[in-house]
Symmetry: C2
Subunit: 426 residues, 2 copies
């Protein structure tokens, strides 16, 4: 189908989705979960085709692993849908209520954003997650998945589309795009698409920002820091560093740069080196660090680099202010953590570090929608407007103002016949 | 000063602003109000120079009126600052709190956005409003005003800068740009500027969206509708139409298109015509309308046009669904109102019309930050993310997640030694 036509249909459907009540949406979600279970064979068949083709094309093994969509994955995504059903409807919540004057009532009410464009990578479970999140929040969706998962995505989108429409969702609320040209066309459709969520590389996110008027929710780099303060518990500082760096190196909330207070460096760094060596992590350090431990020299580029690998840059700082400055200069606004026994320093760090997630005495790896208890995650935002950090359902809604009058006109107020009362109700 | 240097300074200052408490910010606001009153003579002198130059340059008289900044205006803006002081601090509010596990506490806390770029038109009071709103919300500000108000803006910015820095705000938190080149340079500084608020023409807002990666908060058109339903009180329908159209024609929340239900058109339209003629409003209508009243023909372009003038397009519709469709097709997402005695229809209209402000039995002219009781207004947004409708202080803040741990690491959870509890506290 023509992408413009699909976007037009999605926009029309979004109006109906916005009026759908929680019961209807949850009913549709249940039907989708059932349909996925019933069509397990069809899904696995499609996925097998994708896997075989990708093997022939020599897709790297971690990517093959992400691509695989088997019985367990189907069970997982269905469990995810069940927990989504149990979440409160994000639409129709009264966020504020003011009586502007007698009989003139203003309500700020949450509502869907409208049409969301999502471009995601090889994991086919993302398709199920994203589409059910959009349904729950009453948004239409234009989706583009990775080429490797083409058959799996087609099968999943077809099952979701059919089951949800049977359950009463409007035709056209979900549309799967398949070509790169479709993505480029999407970027121009600011008349129909309200928000783009790119889940891909840094360069890809920037490309989208540079080529579209449509707002973008996403993250570029994840250059996360851990600062070991003067008053840190050394053991805790080691354990958190190891977890932050090595628990899963290829993710955006993994540690990339460790900062350590000058006064504790001599005690801390040798222990760090020992533990990191056990995990095969290569250390690079500033000149001060290299006076304490053996490490290759780190340069300016290291502070700016998201390794996503078994490599860690280390810097000795004079005090907490220098640590904060370093993070605000080289960080990416993703996740930064302090280890300290000093509450005042912890609060200062969390107040002044300009990142979506600021932690005290815990691993950077906690910044994640599931760990935060959101039930599901749309993505992670490092921008500073709308939604930041791990973004759940609340990132897919906005609000509208509903004003209930009884024939009220503005002339009465500008001519001072009446005055506003602005009684805050909620 | 070089704009890049100014933006860098603003970014540095924004970190300090973010940590400033309510007492310090309110103290600075008080000092600003006092300084404006003390420097009345200097401000009026600068404004007189602007007025004289603009008269010589034949600036249109409504614009001259907007440019004028006299004793009354100074008193007004100072009263505005006083009411801003009384508003709750938008920063540091706990928006949500969850205990992820024993001793692992997640807080979602409101914080400033960072650096705001604002480009505004001739009214110098906007400079005072915007800068004090930014100060209250802890944001740094790069400002660019209209050329006509150059001297007034310089005087105001200087007074605000000096008074606030004396009161403890960080140097560089506010910077006035003066050239068009500065604005173009600003658009490239996504590294330093987090949000741009353009207050200008439709074309100008689009130009900015097309030429910057920085998110934009603003509105393009204001094509507002009034729909007179079958069950409308005719007198109320006339009064609201007249107020919406004529109370102030040159503003974005003024009525541009009136839709009327077929069954009530013969009764309503002749009365409408009579009242609109009294106000010198020219009517253009669809072919059905022209069978009922005398009016020039309206074409497709009329439905898409923001007249900002004594002109109104009129269309007869078959039912409320057609009215909603028309608005969602031709509207601009600003403000749309229904007049009806039928509550169900009113709720349907307010649910399905996809605009920031949806009204029942009242004038479109109510959509305004002051009338809504926000105390102050940053602007009006017709986008669908972050902030919509009249935007007050809450549009200048975002949030960060603070996670308080006691040495917690993710490995314990992935290895199932521990499980999350996700106890919602707030």
């Amino acid at each position: 189908m023509d992408i413009i036509k699909a976007a037009e249909n999605a926009r029309k459907a979004s109006i109906i989705m916005g009026g759908a009540d929680a019961g209807l949406k949850n009913h549709a979600l249940e039907k989708i979960a059932n349909a996925l279970l019933e069509n397990e064979f069809k899904i696995i068949e499609a996925n097998t085709a994708d896997l075989e083709r990708s093997k022939q094309e020599n897709l790297a093994s971690p990517l093959l692993k992400r691509l695989k969509f088997d019985h367990d994955k189907i069970t997982d995504v269905c469990a995810g849908i069940k927990s989504l059903i149990n979440l409160e409807d994000p639409v129709g919540r009264i966020l504020a209520e003011t009586e502007l004057d007698d009989g003139l009532l203003l309500k700020k009410v949450s509502c869907p954003i409208g049409v969301i464009g999502v471009i995601f990578e090889s994991r086919p479970d993302a398709l199920v997650q994203i589409s059910t999140l959009c349904l729950k929040s009453g948004n239409s969706l234009l989706l583009k998945g990775g080429r490797e998962a083409r058959e799996t995505n087609r099968a999943l989108a077809e099952i979701i589309n059919e089951a949800s429409i049977k359950a009463g969702m409007p035709k056209g609320w979900i549309h799967l795009c398949e070509t790169r040209e479709d993505v480029n066309a999407m970027l121009k459709l600011d008349e129909y698409i309200d928000l783009i969520i790119p889940r891909g590389s840094n360069e890809f996110v920037r490309y989208i920002m540079d080529n579209s008027r449509i707002p973008v929710l996403g993250h570029a780099d994840g250059i996360c820091h851990l600062y070991i303060d003067k008053d840190a518990d050394i053991g805790m500082g080691i354990e958190i560093a190891v977890d932050s760096k090595t628990q899963y190196v290829a993710v955006c909330n993994a540690l990339e740069t460790l900062l350590v207070h000058r006064d504790i460096a001599k005690e801390y760094l040798p222990l760090l080196k020992k533990e990191m060596e056990k995990k095969n992590v290569v250390l690079v350090g500033c000149s001060e660090t290299r006076k304490v431990i053996d490490a290759a020299p780190a340069d300016e580029m290291d502070w700016k680099t998201e390794y996503l690998d078994y490599k860690l840059s280390v810097k000795i700082v004079d005090d907490i202010r220098s640590a904060i400055d370093h993070i605000n200069t080289y960080g990416s606004g993703h996740t930064d953590s302090i280890v300290t026994g000093n509450r005042e320093n912890a609060e200062l760090f969390m107040s002044l570090v300009d990142s979506g997630n600021v932690f005290w005495n815990c691993s950077t790896r906690f910044s994640d929608g599931f760990r935060y208890g959101f039930g599901a995650e749309v993505g992670i935002g490092t921008g500073k407007i709308h939604a930041r950090g791990p973004v759940g359902l609340e990132g897919l809604v906005i609000y509208k103002y509903k004003l209930y009058g009884q024939g009220h006109i503005v002339a009465d107020y500008s001519e001072k016949k009446k005055t506003f009362k602005h009684r805050r109700i909620q």
